[in-house]
């Protein structure tokens, strides 16, 4: 059956599993905490150095894989992962300050 063709996911980010006993799950994105986090995260990204900002945008906003981001930004995959860690750390620090 041709419908069997499927593409293997190259990168999957998973959300934490909700409590099993909840009958109806209110979408947590509607909550003010995540909305505030998003706003602060974007503000913090503006303060990053250009290589870090480009990396976190490529991976966490655009959704490129590490390899694709490396090719687009003309660097190595290891450099992308290292920069990504540093970029997220700086953004996380900004989130924790508030």
């Amino acid at each position: 059956m041709w419908l069997a063709h499927a593409q293997a996911p190259t990168r999957r980010l998973t959300a934490p599993a909700p409590p099993e006993d909840l009958e109806w799950i209110t979408d947590e994105r509607a909550g003010p905490e995540l909305a505030m986090d998003a706003q602060l995260a974007y503000a913090a990204m503006a303060e990053l150095s250009e290589p870090l900002r480009a990396t976190i945008v490529a991976v966490d906003v655009v959704g490129l894989t590490y390899k694709e981001a490396a090719r687009s930004l003309r660097t190595r995959t290891g450099t992308i992962m290292s920069r990504l860690f540093r970029a997220r750390e700086q953004v996380a620090a900004a989130l924790e300050r508030t």
Partner: protein, 253 residues
């Protein structure tokens, strides 16, 4: 912005990123987890990484369809032209997207429904009863695709998006998963920037979301209710075929 003073070696930084993103599996994952246990505060560092990905949309807020379409086009263009692009050009291409993200409003209900495909099932799959499953939203049943296409129902979940109850059934075939969500209430506007095609008389809006390794989304209407089909497939036509299937009339149009 304070400078990053993390004393972690570059290799460990890369490892923690991969653990936070869940991109490792098998022996590599086992080795990474073993190494992470030796890194002081690794668990907290991983959670900090995940908090940022959640805030920026990884597994949380989906990119709007119009942005996703532009991101896909840009992604292909950047990848294709990468050898000839100056570094600044590639950077500008990516940075242009963050401006679009920052300026764009929140995702629509349809786009958020599509993102439910990334969530886990919270209930067992409903039983099949002929060409449909024993579950429906406002009288619109979920299709039973196993016999016809080999996509077997594996679980479901219920959510409320913008005050609208939704039900999502997950289907799997050869280790791959797609999600079928039906949104209660009047029809929702089509996602901005989506391509509209007609298949077997059914109008289907399709677009590609580049996040999560890339997944395709089909939005259509059954008996006045909005249905969203999302998942990793090789061709969008797979989703179109599934969306348009009527099960001999059992799936109401």
């Amino acid at each position: 912005m304070s400078r990053d003073r993390t004393p972690l070696p570059r290799r460990d930084r890369a490892l923690l990123v991969q653990l936070a993103d869940g991109t490792l599996s098998g022996p590599r994952l086992e080795r990474a987890e073993a190494r992470a246990r030796e890194i002081p505060g690794a668990e907290r560092l991983i959670e900090r990484q995940r908090r940022v990905t959640r805030a920026l949309g990884g597994g949380a807020a989906p990119a709007p369809a119009s942005l996703a379409a532009r991101a896909t086009a840009r992604r292909r263009a950047v990848a294709w032209r990468a050898p000839r692009l100056a570094g600044a050009g590639a950077l500008a291409a990516v940075l242009a997207l963050v401006v679009a993200v920052a300026l764009h409003g929140g995702p629509s209900t349809v786009e958020r429904a599509a993102d439910l495909a990334q969530r886990p099932a919270t209930r067992p799959a409903p039983a099949a009863a002929g060409a449909v499953l024993a579950a429906d939203v406002d009288g619109v049943p979920f299709p039973a695709w196993d016999a016809e296409f080999g996509w077997r129902e594996t679980g479901m979940r219920r959510d409320v998006l913008d005050g609208r109850p939704t039900e999502t059934v997950f289907y799997e075939h050869m280790g791959h998963r797609i999600a079928y969500t039906i949104v209660s209430g009047p029809r929702l506007p089509r996602p901005e920037g989506a391509r509209v095609v007609r298949r077997d008389g059914l109008e289907i809006a399709v677009y590609h979301d580049p996040r999560h390794g890339g997944h395709d989304i089909a939005v259509f209407e059954r008996n006045g209710r909005t249905c969203v089909l999302a998942g990793h497939v090789l061709e969008q036509s797979t989703l179109l075929e599934l969306a348009a299937w009527r099960g001999g009339g059992s799936v109401r149009s």
